[in-house]
């Protein structure tokens, strides 16, 4: 305690700019989780500074004006599962968050003219599916209702899990697993089976249409390294659906691009008294007696705080900013094994007209379009990526945000925003020789599905996972910072010994997508991390989750 008072007294008058030299809490990274965490902390009466290496807030959920021509997102292009509680607590709508489209449907196409659309409206979904297979149309509501039971069971598990060391304690576990306890015995058995199965095996049990199965499986594999035939992907699918449950808007497109969300979050945080400092690259954490005392910024500037919350990914936070010298060998080992390599490349195309995807009707254009005709198609691509090769066939998720929001580009221009799944982080031989190839292939794939697209292309950009990594400063450029696999979930996320938003280092917390309940734009990691810090502040704990 004394150290901090001393530090604060000494440094406060010397602050070289409008910012103070000491705060109660410093939040590293102004991504959505960082800002949400900061806002809650400030709301609890703490003096909070948010720093970000970039010139704007938002992190991976932001958009930028590209070539002065259009506004596009280099990171997430859909707000997926933003927690309704967070949006309400922070009054995000008051601060400008508005959607042009809520509850996006999903449309899957196979390029041959077949398409299937499903979403919130069960009747319409069944109609669409029955064109592929009447059997599947009947099975679909049964499947969805059943999965809804398990998704509900999982939503309880979105709350912070007990520490790994308490896994044998029934009281700690049973609260967390409340949702699962409410299932009956047969359902519990099924739940365990589902969580350990591959999404492919489960879908094969219900459906016969390849396109429908591939489309449903997509949510279980997107952003990750696993293919639909790999074990644990069913759990990933249910987890993703559970994350959407906490939001009433499900998948939605904000008005004015992803930056609307970032700006609303920033305004909400600033309204509560949070100081935001852009262009502040954190070089290292300052440590005294094995405890965090602040951050040192580019240019040898020190900012002191008793607690530092990092929304950067766990590897960057602990290996780069803290350094292995302040960690036990076991922690370093676990961090070394952490799977953080990104698999998604981003592509933005500007078109001077509307692309017509074969098989889609006019009102499908603005929805989430998936190019994934077959589960084996995705599986083959994941195999290629596993061995650091470019896949022959590209699995893509496409959104054309200009359909609902023409303000994003010039008049009668459209933006095609695509996620290219299963691109290796560092392909054999380096990206330099593969990037051109990937762009051609992506354009070929799109043109195959929308024959008029190639003639409409005015310009475009492609970012590989490694480019996204350096742009956003996240190790490996993974969407979720840390892959959503069973070994990196719940009390093991990101690593045992650093769960529950603590790290092994006293005073250092994590609040990014690398913590429970993981990636997406839920805002829950930020919210729960803030609760942890507030709790520790009240009890005067220093954290240090050993």
């Amino acid at each position: 305690m004394n150290i901090f008072n001393r530090l604060r007294d000494r440094s406060a008058p010397e602050a070289p700019n409008a910012f103070k030299g000491a705060y109660d809490v410093i939040v590293i990274g102004a991504g959505h989780n960082g800002l949400i965490c900061a806002a809650y902390l400030a709301d609890a009466g703490l003096d909070v500074l948010v720093v970000d290496q970039r010139d704007k807030p938002g992190g991976m959920a932001s958009s930028e004006l590209i070539d002065d021509r259009y506004t596009g997102a280099m990171g997430a292009h859909i707000v997926e599962g933003l927690s309704a509680k967070v949006a309400r607590d922070l009054k995000l709508h008051k601060f400008g968050l508005d959607y042009v489209k809520r509850q996006l449907d999903t449309v899957a196409i196979d390029g041959e003219g077949q398409a299937v659309r499903f979403g919130a409206d069960m009747r319409k979904s069944q109609d669409s599916i029955s064109a592929l297979s009447p059997q599947d149309a009947q099975a679909y509501p049964v499947f969805m209702d059943k999965m809804q039971r398990y998704t509900q069971a999982l939503t309880g598990m979105l709350s912070p899990p007990p520490l790994l060391e308490n896994i044998g304690r029934t009281d700690a576990m049973s609260t967390w697993l409340k949702g699962v306890r409410h299932l009956d015995q047969n359902e519990q058995q099924e739940f365990v089976r589902l969580c350990l199965s591959s999404v492919g095996d489960i879908l094969d049990e219900y459906f016969e249409s390849d396109l429908l199965k591939a489309a449903l499986a997509f949510d279980g594999i997107q952003g990750g390294r696993l293919g639909p035939r790999d074990m644990g992907t069913m759990a990933a699918l249910l987890w993703r659906w559970a994350q959407r449950e906490v939001s009433k808007d499900r998948l939605s497109i904000p008005k004015g691009g992803m930056d609307t969300l970032a700006m609303a979050l920033l305004k909400a945080a600033q309204d509560k008294g949070v100081a935001f400092r852009s262009n502040a690259d954190v070089k290292a954490l300052m440590m005294e007696e094995d405890q965090v005392t602040g951050i040192s910024l580019d240019g040898d500037e020190h900012v002191y705080a008793k607690r530092v919350v990092s929304s950067a990914d766990p590897k960057r936070t602990l290996m780069d900013l803290t350094g292995p010298r302040h960690l036990d060998t076991e922690s370093v080992r676990r961090l070394k094994h952490l799977k953080t390599e990104g698999t998604v490349s981003r592509m933005l195309l500007t078109l001077n007209g509307m692309p017509f995807f074969t098989g889609l009707s006019d009102d499908d254009w603005g929805e989430r379009i998936l190019i994934c005709p077959h589960m084996d198609y995705a599986q083959r691509s994941s195999r290629a990526m596993k061995y650091n090769e470019l896949p022959h066939e590209l699995t893509m998720e496409i959104v054309i945000p200009t359909v609902f929001d023409p303000t994003l580009a010039e008049f009668n221009r459209h933006i095609v925003s695509a996620n290219i799944q299963y691109t290796p982080c560092e392909p054999e031989g380096g990206w330099q020789q593969h990037k051109e190839h990937l762009a051609t292939k992506a354009l070929d794939t799109l043109s195959y599905c929308a024959p008029n697209l190639r003639g409409l292309v005015e310009g475009g950009d492609l970012w590989t996972p490694s480019e996204l990594a350096s742009h956003f400063g996240s190790t490996g450029g993974h969407w979720h910072h840390v892959d959503h696999t069973l070994d990196q979930a719940a009390m093991m996320r990101p690593i045992p010994g650093a769960a529950q938003y603590h790290t092994p280092v006293p005073g250092l917390y994590l609040c990014g997508a690398g913590t429970h309940p993981g990636g997406g734009v839920t805002g829950l990691p930020g919210y729960y991390a803030a609760q942890r810090v507030i709790f520790d502040t009240k009890t005067n704990e220093q954290g240090g989750g050993l």
Binding site: T329, E330, V332, L546
Partner: protein
């Protein structure tokens, strides 16, 4: 069908000294040490013990596990690895230190020699290269190499050890202080000599390259003969080790990397090594566990004087009717004329002078049997020679 050799080594290797050692090993009594076989007794363990305590004994320590760390970051690396402050270890000095895991459990008690500013040798009780390599993540300039068996190592123990080295030609070796390292020559062979104080005696460790090994051994044996030098086997060494009260890896404690059960490894405090844990130095693996006291200290190592005339390894220890622990090492001590034992007990408050009862398992004419023996808690070490740290006067 061709026979494919298994990837592991079948049987044990002889050390490079084996041809010379065999000539002295009249008892033909061998024991495994790592991947090597070494003599347990050469002729008679009584004579060998006597040589160590009264004259000088020479032992083949080649199988001991050695790692070499080199590079600019070696100091910082070792400082994070072990519990003592490595920045205080000067070039040409050596020290013993525990190294722990994240729970503060002892992995091993190692000896570290700072051969040069950026070169360290680490002598361990068991192999642990994966641990050492993973500990090096984040330290850019440190190379770790397993050098076990690369050099031949002799141990020289006893009051006449310095005289033997001088007579063998290692000039000025008397100026070597305890825990210091120096470069010397024995019969044209360059050797590295460390004064160790092992076994509680005046002791040296001599390291020579394999090509010189037999030469050096011959020379030491020949010049030492008038001084009473004898090759000593593991049995005599172990007796002296118990008399000194030093804990043996795998016998008195289980290393944290080798333990199968979570409650088996011990903290430095439990082993009586808390003075070797420096809480003021930079971070090391286990420091947070020590600071936050997350790991319980359950046991304590004690020394026992026992009645009876036979070693009583694995005897159960009773205080009254209460079972409180197990004997881990035991031997007849010629110095103390008594059976002495090291034991692990669960009662941390057990003080010197407390009488205990031992329940010793034995087999008597094919029938399992046990006997009850009285024992008393005494101080560690049992015996330690004043010569171990003595200054040697020049000849």
């Amino acid at each position: 069908m061709s026979m494919i050799a298994p990837p592991w080594k079948d049987g044990l290797s002889p050390t490079p000294l084996h041809p010379a050692v065999t000539e002295c090993a009249a008892a033909n009594d061998w024991v495994r040490w790592g991947d090597y076989s070494v003599a347990r007794t050469y002729s008679s363990w009584e004579d060998e013990y006597d040589a160590i305590r009264r004259h000088v004994g020479i032992a083949d320590l080649t199988p001991s596990v050695r790692y070499r760390m080199t590079g600019q970051d070696a100091e910082a690396y070792l400082n994070r690895l072990v519990t003592r402050d490595m920045r205080r270890l000067r070039s040409g000095a050596r020290c013993a230190t525990p190294l722990c895991n994240e729970h503060g459990h002892v992995i091993d008690i190692v000896h570290i020699e700072r051969v040069d500013e950026h070169i360290y040798d680490l002598a361990a009780s068991a192999k642990m290269l994966p641990w050492l390599l993973d500990s090096a993540i984040g330290f850019d300039d440190v190379a770790i190499e397993d050098v076990t068996g690369q050099d031949v190592i002799f141990g020289l123990y006893g009051v006449a050890s310095c005289a033997t080295l001088l007579m063998a030609g290692a000039e000025d070796v008397e100026k070597l202080n305890p825990h210091q390292i120096g470069l010397y020559k024995i019969r044209d062979a360059a050797v590295v000599i460390t004064r160790t104080g092992a076994l509680g005696e005046m002791a040296y460790e001599i390291r020579a390259i394999e090509a010189d090994a037999l030469n050096v051994w011959d020379r030491l044996l020949r010049v030492g003969k008038p001084l009473g030098l004898k090759p000593v086997g593991r049995r005599a060494l172990d007796m002296c080790r118990i008399e000194l009260g030093h804990l043996s890896y795998g016998q008195d404690y289980i290393g944290a990397l080798a333990a199968r059960y979570g409650n088996r490894p011990r903290t430095p405090a439990e082993l009586g090594l808390d003075s070797l844990v420096d809480m003021k130095k930079d971070y090391f693996t286990g420091k947070r566990a020590f600071r936050q006291k997350t790991t319980q200290h359950r046991t304590k190592v004690i020394a026992l004087h026992c009645d009876g005339l036979e070693p009583m390894d694995h005897a159960k220890i009773f205080q009254g009717d209460r079972l409180i622990g197990t004997v881990t090492s035991s031997c007849w001590s010629p110095k103390l004329k008594s059976i002495i034992s090291l034991a692990t007990v669960t009662d941390q408050t057990l003080a010197e002078g407390v009488p205990l009862t031992l329940d010793v398992p034995r087999v008597f004419e094919l029938e399992p049997d046990h006997m009850r023996i009285n024992a008393t808690v005494v101080a560690r070490p049992f015996y330690r020679s004043p010569a171990r740290n003595a200054k040697v006067r020049g000849s």
